[in-house]
Symmetry: C2
Subunit: 482 residues, 2 copies
Amino acid sequence: MTPTAALDTLLTALRDGLGARHVLTDPDALAPYLTESRRLFTGSALAVLRPGSTEEVAFAVRACTQADIAVVPLGGNTGLTGAGVPQGGVVLSLERMTRLRAVDPVDATITVEAGMILQDVQDAAEAAGMMFPLSYASRGSARIGGGVSTNAGGIAVLAYGNARDLVLGLEVVLADGRVWNGLKSLRKDNAGYDLKQLFIGSEGTLGIVTAAVLKLFPRPRSTSVAFVGLVSARAALDLFVFLRARMDRDLTAFEYLPPFALEIVLRHIPGTVQPLHGAHGAYALIEVASARPDADTQAELESALGQALADGVIADATIGTSGAQNAALWRLREGVPEAQTREGASIKHDVSVPLSRLPAFLEQAGAACTAEMPGLRPCGFGHFGDGNIHFNLSQPSGMAAAEFLAEWGRFNRIVHDIVHDLGGSIAAEHGVGLIKREELARYGDPVGLDLMRRLKAALDPEDLLNPGKVIIRDDRDASTAR
Amino acid sequence: MTPTAALDTLLTALRDGLGARHVLTDPDALAPYLTESRRLFTGSALAVLRPGSTEEVAFAVRACTQADIAVVPLGGNTGLTGAGVPQGGVVLSLERMTRLRAVDPVDATITVEAGMILQDVQDAAEAAGMMFPLSYASRGSARIGGGVSTNAGGIAVLAYGNARDLVLGLEVVLADGRVWNGLKSLRKDNAGYDLKQLFIGSEGTLGIVTAAVLKLFPRPRSTSVAFVGLVSARAALDLFVFLRARMDRDLTAFEYLPPFALEIVLRHIPGTVQPLHGAHGAYALIEVASARPDADTQAELESALGQALADGVIADATIGTSGAQNAALWRLREGVPEAQTREGASIKHDVSVPLSRLPAFLEQAGAACTAEMPGLRPCGFGHFGDGNIHFNLSQPSGMAAAEFLAEWGRFNRIVHDIVHDLGGSIAAEHGVGLIKREELARYGDPVGLDLMRRLKAALDPEDLLNPGKVIIRDDRDASTAR
């Protein structure tokens, strides 16, 4: 059979199995599936498949991989690394698998299909009187399967962990089309290797997550938010260590903003207002929450920040006294990415370092980047309490965007070298995908990279599940990988 | 070379590399390494190796595996599954690798070698003003590498998770003697597959853990303990759900005892006294703790249990008012295993089910076992809040121990069938080792078992790391595995 005839045979089989309207081949229909949200990557695909059930996913994977056609799973297409961008093969969209399979407030679990929108998972948990803490800016369109497959982080990691920590069980379609049913609801299970860990965070390269059992938590009865001005990132670290010891597990967020981030939010995001008197060298947003009926998180925050003020750890603070005020303070933090977009082009880094090295990282990376390009405006903000900084660089005012973005690789090198020297990670919460696979090959421990390749070969020997993402299979070493 | 000559050559090389006194071959010296704590298994080994560093572990593994000699890693020999019992090959004891490599109260991490005693890890954390929560009865002799390798549970899982949840980074010697350095101290790291997950809980079959970076937490400033009498296990579940919502993350333990467990503790454990007035159908030990300076956990418990009493959820309760009283209440729970030993022979099960099914499990398993052998005394106790029950069966009074223990397999079948039907795990916190490998082959999902075998083949192709533990390599199916 010619390749064209073989493809026709495959597409016919897929149309028979999935229904013709769930096998897209029209270029206009394909287009939205080929480009990711930041438009850094555009791919190509033979077709987009939209299976409606686990059995249909298994059928489609079996049909494609038997025909030697790669399968690229896609959730809400909100990823920031190109992990869902196809480079040939077919896109397998989970968008129709949106069923809530079960919610159990006694077990404190929810069982959802991979295509369920994150916000819908949160809402279903709330309707059952519980809370699902995983949350990030794209929650209105991100699908839970993508969050699990990338081990997503977000704004509630400090108290509740990353996506990995929220998964009790998984259902996964393997490269050969078999279904692994690991949909357990257990808090303890050591019956053999913990297979779900393989699929969480491996970005669809080892299997396709079709459903998950997730942990739920009591809904907070009391939540308070503060916005704090500090002298420096060093002072922010002192404050974090102080609050962690004092608030214990009630501390649910500790986010960081440099002065530039607050400045552009106030400039570009409608309705935002200066929260403090005067300017400071650094800012932190702090959230404290508890489900205890006797918890008075506002009093806790007032007392703790009063002490921090008296000790000279902070310079100024404001505490929200209503849900609306808390939301307004959060908007100062959540508005940063959009404000940065409006301020011009940016080169982005999603990195982490050990907590104690956060001030050194911000200082060294900021100095190195501005030395490299005067006028460039570093904006390292984000999940300070997790050691995770979005170290984004705003272009110098007036420079052409394209000219600035052409320097992406050069600044990656500068920033990632510093991260690496400080014992950090070049991929903290967004993953590797396409955008960092060469960086991973460069900075990854060689023994670790070899283990990753062995895992890939063991679970997907023909390299047909999301090929070319995360790891480079062909043993090119770092020096030639770029 | 004859096998004997080859072994002599290997032993000579090992003596050269490790020092002669760290290569034990004398039968008397070997004996303590060949039998596990419950004396259910006794193994055999050519030698015991006691390397003093990661490099020496790597050297020893390389030397042995190149000579086609299996390597069985061993920590404190406190395991309950025979995972550390050799069946030929050499024992590689981590007992000399006891170094505290680093402790960092800002990062809230401790970096320890695998042979460090668990109690010493806890003490080192405390000396740094922090707390390491992993804890279980054998903490005075268990070594941390064993806890990590078996994903140990214990008494603090409810608030802090299993060993897996406490590990940030690992150093591992692989089957080919290479060292994987994954000693990161990061709270977020998605730079490729999360390799450490492979080695946590795989019982030394995929690699030998030589060091770990572990999470530390603020030390509780206020801790309170209550002992509660209830009508039934069903009422215990109602109480747990009530307290989880009300105490939120302050609830650090919820342990369960049936009347028989309390009865034998009071009979056999010196110094224990009846904590409540009258007898009840079930008992729970509850611990609430917080580092918040304003936390009054005793008042929290009093208020919550007062409500539970008014609502008829509990029948009686006592709350410790001092550290000594709290310790006395804990002794009622921690004394159960020893009391059971003194009460005669027991057949044990370490199982978990979804929380909502705990009452059904206790009821069904108890009824099935007593129907099978009248006079037998079921003792299902333990980590109720984790869904984890140690479902132990005390022999009928007066029966010969050996006669009772001969029925181990028959009762396993009865109990594990019920666990399996309820969506539970036959190996909750102790692991699989030798004692449950046939049970895993029987109850495990066939696709999952195949994945485990693929992982084993990918990481240890010659089957030389702790062979014969956890998974049965030779593809026997469940029907022939027993």
